[in-house]
């Protein structure tokens, strides 16, 4: 028995400790807790993309990839523990998928010289690469999302929002509070009345909030929610018979998990997105051939094609392309985190490249520069069809109000730079 345990431990150790020449893409996932519904599809998509790269191309640039996972349960303390334990394994880039953990890691990754990608989340002003040298948030951020939602309202209302009421239902955390400043600025610019309704973590109880909304009768409701909060909010909106086509979620409040439980009532609910929806891409054929059919799918393997699974694929694709770029720049296949950072700063996503990768028209084109770590802020609207149980894109990818957002980003990032005495990293 003793012998058996010993050999098991040795075998497990050998399996767990990666061989030297591997590109490590750590995944700070959350498959448990109140945010699991949103965390599982992303983690699955992220892992499946790299599994496919390994099986199809033999990794990236001839080096195999590995995706060690660490469960954070969306909890910042566990996030720190995970970051520290994965750091020892030589992680090239972190994608925490949690704004709280992102805030914690921004100073840490900068000091440890490891890049971090927070696609569509995290600290919005990290777009300013002069201040945030190691943090990237392309192709779009929270403020872009808020601005595109307002643009959509303008389209619906014939270009005039004056006198309209807009209410923001938000997760009472750093994440949910992010768009408040942008929406306040936009309300001044377009003359609409703006109200805030916070929902405390985890958001399973929202009766009083929706009672308030019923009393206020806003023309539009914007939601910045996550995890179980989304399902509850949509159900409550159905209960008070709020018109669904006037209810707009940010991209984190626009997945199948959020609307399915409300049934037919959720029909017409809208959400902002920075990438396309559905599984109708050539890449999915490869995924099916090399991953699903081989039985290598991560998790339960039932998330394929959902919105957040696609986002996981997209996140993995972006860092894989950045790794290729880094290999190209530094002329070595075994890149370090610091070289990876250079690759991310030189990343350029074009339509040809996405077509080549099997994802034509999947996301916006953008080019990362030293000054701009956040892309160009293009996003589109999707709408839920409860009958076919599908999200469909109902608008083109439009650019957010750069004039308003850019000045807010300058203001916030310069305040951070002054507070932490950071010098301009680009000059």
């Amino acid at each position: 028995m003793k012998f058996k345990l010993g050999t098991m431990a040795v075998a497990a150790l050998m399996a767990a400790s990666p061989a030297m020449a591997e590109l490590v893409f750590p995944s700070l996932s959350y498959r448990t807790g109140p945010y699991a519904a949103s965390g599982i599809p992303f983690a699955d998509g992220y892992a499946d993309y790299f599994t496919m790269l390994n099986a199809r191309d033999g990794g990236i640039g001839g080096v195999m990839t590995t995706v060690p996972e660490c469960e954070t349960a969306y909890n910042t303390e566990k996030g720190v523990e995970c970051y520290e334990s994965l750091k020892g394994g030589g992680g090239l880039v972190y994608q925490p998928l949690s704004t709280g953990i992102t805030y914690q890691l921004i100073p840490k990754v900068t000091a440890d010289n490891i890049p971090m990608l927070t696609t569509g989340l995290g600290r919005t002003s990290a777009k300013n690469g002069r201040v945030f040298s190691h943090v990237f948030n392309f192709p779009a951020n929270y403020w872009d999302g808020a601005s595109v939602a307002v643009k959509h309202m303008l389209d619906e209302e014939g270009g005039d929002l004056s006198g309209k009421k807009v209410t923001l239902v938000y997760h009472n955390s750093a994440y949910g509070k992010e768009p408040i400043r942008t929406l306040t600025e936009l309300s001044k610019k377009h003359g609409f009345e703006f109200n805030e309704v916070p929902v405390d973590h985890p958001g399973q109880e929202q009766k009083s909030q929706w009672l308030q909304i019923r009393r206020d009768k806003p023309d539009y409701v914007i939601m910045y929610g996550w995890g179980v909060m989304n399902q509850v909010a949509i159900q409550e909106a159905v209960n008070i018979r709020f018109p669904m086509d006037k209810f707009i979620g940010i991209w984190w409040s626009g997945s199948e998990n959020d609307v399915l439980s409300a049934g037919a009532g959720a029909d017409g609910y809208k959400a902002v997105t920075f990438h396309n929806v559905g599984a109708d891409y050539p890449l999915y054929d490869d995924l099916k051939k090399y991953v699903y059919d081989e039985g290598k799918a991560a998790g339960a393997g039932d998330q394929s094609g959902t919105v957040i699974y696609n986002r996981g694929i997209y996140g993995a694709m972006l860092v894989a392309e950045a790794a290729k770029k880094a290999q190209e720049i530094h002329g070595t296949a075994n890149i370090t985190p610091s070289q990876m950072r250079d690759g991310m700063e030189a990343l350029e996503i074009t339509e040809e490249k996405m077509t080549e990768l099997g994802l034509p028209g999947f996301g916006p084109e953008f080019k990362v520069t030293c000054e701009n770590h956040g892309g160009n802020g293009f996003a589109a609207m999707t709408q839920w069809n409860a009958e076919t149980k599908e999200w469909t894109l109902i608008s083109d990818f439009v650019q957010s109000d750069q004039e308003v957002i850019q000045s807010l980003i300058e203001e916030d990032s310069n305040a951070y730079a002054a507070e932490n005495s950071i010098e301009d990293h680009c000059s």
Binding site: A12, T76, E77, V80, E81, T99, P107, E178
Partner: protein, 358 residues
Amino acid sequence: MFYREAGDFNTSYAEDQQTFPIKFDRYRYYVVLFIAIVVVPFTVNDYWVNSIFMPFLIYTIAAIGLNILVGYCGQVSLGTGGFMAVGAYACYKLMTAMPEVSMFIHVLLAGVITAAVGVLFGLPSLRIKGFYLAVATLAAQFFLVWLFNRFPWFYNYSASGQINAPERDTFGIIITGPSTEAWAAYAFCLVFTIFSAYVARNLTRGSVGRKWMAIRDMDIAAEIIGVNPLRAKLTAFAVSSFFIGISGALFFAIYLGAVEVGEAFGIQKSFLVLFMIIIGGLGSIFGSFAGAAFLVLLPVALKVVGVDLLGWPTDIVAHLQLVIVGLLIIVFLIAEPHGIAQLWRVAKDKLRLWPFPH
């Protein structure tokens, strides 16, 4: 054989009344201190400090604080998370208002501010007792979290409502911020832990502590023998909140570096610290250490075994963790209702007689 009083002759009152009257015990204590102060700082890396030592030391301070209130004075409190938040936000405001002052002073001042807030919320304890007091302190918990979320002054009007610890030093050594050396953060927390344990131990052995215990055991009887319940209860709230405030300040400034009040100092934090002292042992300083160690180390240990050694899926390990920790708490409370500290006491009594129990 080794662990007994025989042959250990005390010749003064001071010797007779020391914390560790048995020689073997005393030397063991010195060895632990020696390892913690001299050996550990030179051998630790980032992982050990950030994942194990720092949470352990900081939660120990919080547990000592709560133990004074609940274990020694018998006033049940569910406001620990809220009071830790007071310490954290006080520390943040002080750090950003006076960058040149040493972190030592900021953390101590954060403790003093929390003590004042604690006294304020302790006032109802003169009228209400037991479960009702628990509910009153629960109100403090929710009120304080709401307060720090509601008024932007507390988080210096930052867009996200988060507070971030800027780089600060003490005696020229960087203590907060990302460029902190692992040993510096460890040493800073260790100083506060030793200080808290030392002060708490000596307070609870003296007249103040005896008054608290008198109130805990029977408040009417205590009043009859001349204990002023107002002073006893309020000092307990003040001292307890002082330590909890220190732990909150360290938790924010040294350990996490960025904090969001609802997530970091919510009701679950109050329960966590309460579980620590219940498992560790109410009314025992050692129990505070043991309880904090149990609840900090066990999840990490289970994760290392499950994920890193056995290679199981992370979600299964996370669920198993909840099951195992929960199960162990129940087993512990059935097998030893007085906590780990009582086990330790029993072990010591047995050791005294060993190897000839009869």
